[in-house]
């Protein structure tokens, strides 16, 4: 049987895509003919995959990531690769070497990041679902800023084979969609065991979201409504949680004391892992050719200075420093203790509640160029990184607007209870439709 194709030649005024496949093949299956966009750090056989970096310009993977194989087996049409912050390093998609993506709700603002292209493609109506990756909020942040839904799955639930690594111990591939049902459908396709990812767990997903949440106990951490969180955003999110209470849930105040250092622990960990992971980009096996006549240090420095943007180099430097002898104990070792403390805080709270809820982001989408200082950009991740440090599932679902811009309600759950966070998000979504 001849492969069937869909024609995908959309106007893309928000620059959501780096590559589009004008004739995308598909086959039979639960996603037969559904157009799915894939973030550009996920390997797609025969389709250029750049991580939005000049150093991978022209790189065409010789194999599919596990999740891409699963999409194709489910009948989906992979219609293109979406823009992102270079290697996933950013919160706005402005760190793409190929220019920023714009927020479809207001093109003077960023879509969030790092999976900004995937979220914008959905918000602009170009696709109904997309894959993203979430290392410290990179699915949930753009979902919140663009007014769509996105899930960071429990660590280990989705194979990372074929994901171009940035910070292995934190990142997960996950689904973004127009609504919770789309997210559940896509999660059902991509979750499950893969022997090629040694952290993969055999926990497939086959759940249709239910809006029955009577008796659900929701923890409300004070830190998610404290200083640094836009009061208008906090108020919209409180109202959304009030809606869940009307539906039969109860709320329990709680506290995550480790949040005082969670963000620092996150940045020390992810930059350390990045400094090691990104060592492979030297232009030898892929990328721009190093000058083979020069000494290797000189040749590699030249390739990496030209090929990596400033934020990528900054993070490699920070990670190299944090792991260097004399500083390892002060930074990396401390960050790992901090990470255990974050896990312990969640374990303590989850002994008494089913899910934890709060805002996804402390503000609405920034204006383009607003976060030019790296540290101020890092601080925007404060509400999303705890879930990555602990490896727990977390979803962002649209819950209203502030000054015309979408706000996301974040719901976090226990390990492998992605179904439960989805049900809570679905109950909210169905109540406000």
């Amino acid at each position: 049987m001849a492969a069937r194709t869909i024609v995908f030649e959309p106007a893309d005024p928000c620059h959501a895509f780096l590559t589009t496949c004008s004739r995308a093949e598909y086959s039979d299956g639960p996603l037969a003919g559904v157009a799915v966009a894939v973030k550009d750090n996920i390997s797609t056989k025969g389709i250029e995959t750049t991580c939005a970096s000049k150093i991978l310009k022209g790189y065409v993977p010789p194999y599919d990531a596990h999740v891409v194989g699963l999409l194709k087996a489910a009948g989906a049409a992979v219609v293109g690769k979406t823009n992102m912050d270079e290697f996933g390093m950013g919160t706005t998609t402005e760190n793409s070497a190929f220019g920023p993506t714009l927020n479809p709700s207001d093109t003077g603002r960023v879509p969030g990041g790092s999976s900004g292209g995937s979220a914008a493609a959905i918000a602009a109506g170009m696709v109904t679902m997309a894959l993203g990756t979430d290392t410290g909020g990179s699915i949930r942040c753009p979902a919140a800023f663009c007014g769509i839904t996105g899930l960071k799955p429990t660590y280990g639930r989705v194979s990372r084979f074929g994901l171009i690594a940035y910070a292995n111990s934190l990142e997960q591939i996950g689904p973004l969609g127009k609504n919770v049902s789309d997210v559940a459908t896509l999660m059902g396709v991509i979750a499950g065991h893969d022997h090629r990812d040694s952290t993969s767990r055999n926990r497939p997903f086959s759940h249709s979201p239910k809006n029955e949440i009577k008796g659900l106990k929701i923890g409300i951490p004070e830190e998610y409504f404290g200083p640094g969180v836009d009061p208008e955003v906090a108020s919209v999110v409180r109202k959304a949680i009030g809606r869940l209470v009307e539906l039969g849930a109860t709320t329990v105040p709680c506290s995550i004391p480790s949040m005082q250092y969670a963000l620092a622990a996150y940045y020390v960990t992810c930059t350390s892992e990045a400094s090691s992971n990104l060592a492979r980009f030297d232009g030898v096996r892929y990328g721009p050719a190093p000058d083979t006549k020069k000494s290797w240090h000189d040749a590699y420095q030249e390739v990496r200075r030209e090929g990596f943007g400033p934020e990528v180099r900054r993070r490699i430097l920070l990670g190299t420093f944090a792991l260097s002898s004399g500083y390892y104990g002060k930074y990396y070792a401390k960050a790992q203790v901090a990470r255990q403390n974050v896990k312990a805080d969640f374990a303590r709270i989850f002994a008494g509640v089913d899910v934890i809820a709060g805002p996804t982001m402390p503000s609405i989408a920034f204006k383009l160029g607003e976060k030019s200082d790296p540290l101020s950009m890092y601080l925007a991740d404060i509400l999303t990184v705890p879930a990555n440090l602990a490896g727990i599932p977390a979803i962002s679902v649209p819950c209203g607007k502030v000054r015309g811009m979408p706000v996301g309600l974040q719901i976090m759950g226990k390990h492998f209870e992605d179904e439960r966070v989805m049900d809570a998000a679905y109950a909210y979504e169905q109540a406000v439709i």
Binding site: G58, Y59, V60, P62, Y63, H195, S198, T199, Q260, Y261, A264, A265, Y267, V268, S275, D282, G283, V284, R285, Y286, G287, P288, A289, P290, T292, K293, K294, S295, W296, H297, D298, A299, Y300, Q301, E302, R304, R305, E306, F308, P310, R313, R314, I316, L317, L318, T320, F321, K330, Y331, K334, A335, Q336, V337, A338, Q340, N341, D373, P374, L375, Y378
Partner: protein, 89 residues
Amino acid sequence: MVSEHEVQHIAELADVGINTDELETFTHQFNAILDYFDTLDLVRGDGAAKDDMVNVMREDKIEPSLPQEDVLRNAPAQEDGFIKAPRVM
């Protein structure tokens, strides 16, 4: 405080090139971020990993892999079926 000289040294260790006109900005940002990382001084506890983690390794058996031509396709410099790299000596 980390000096420009130290940032330059780390950049060399990491094989990350820094232009001279970037060095001042990089050093300034580096120090601001490291100041923020000092919140880790508040961390208490021994942090011994409590996870019941085990190594997951496959058997040491040859498995099918990509054909040589596919593997070489992205390499910018090649010679006799090998990938060419800069000189080490």
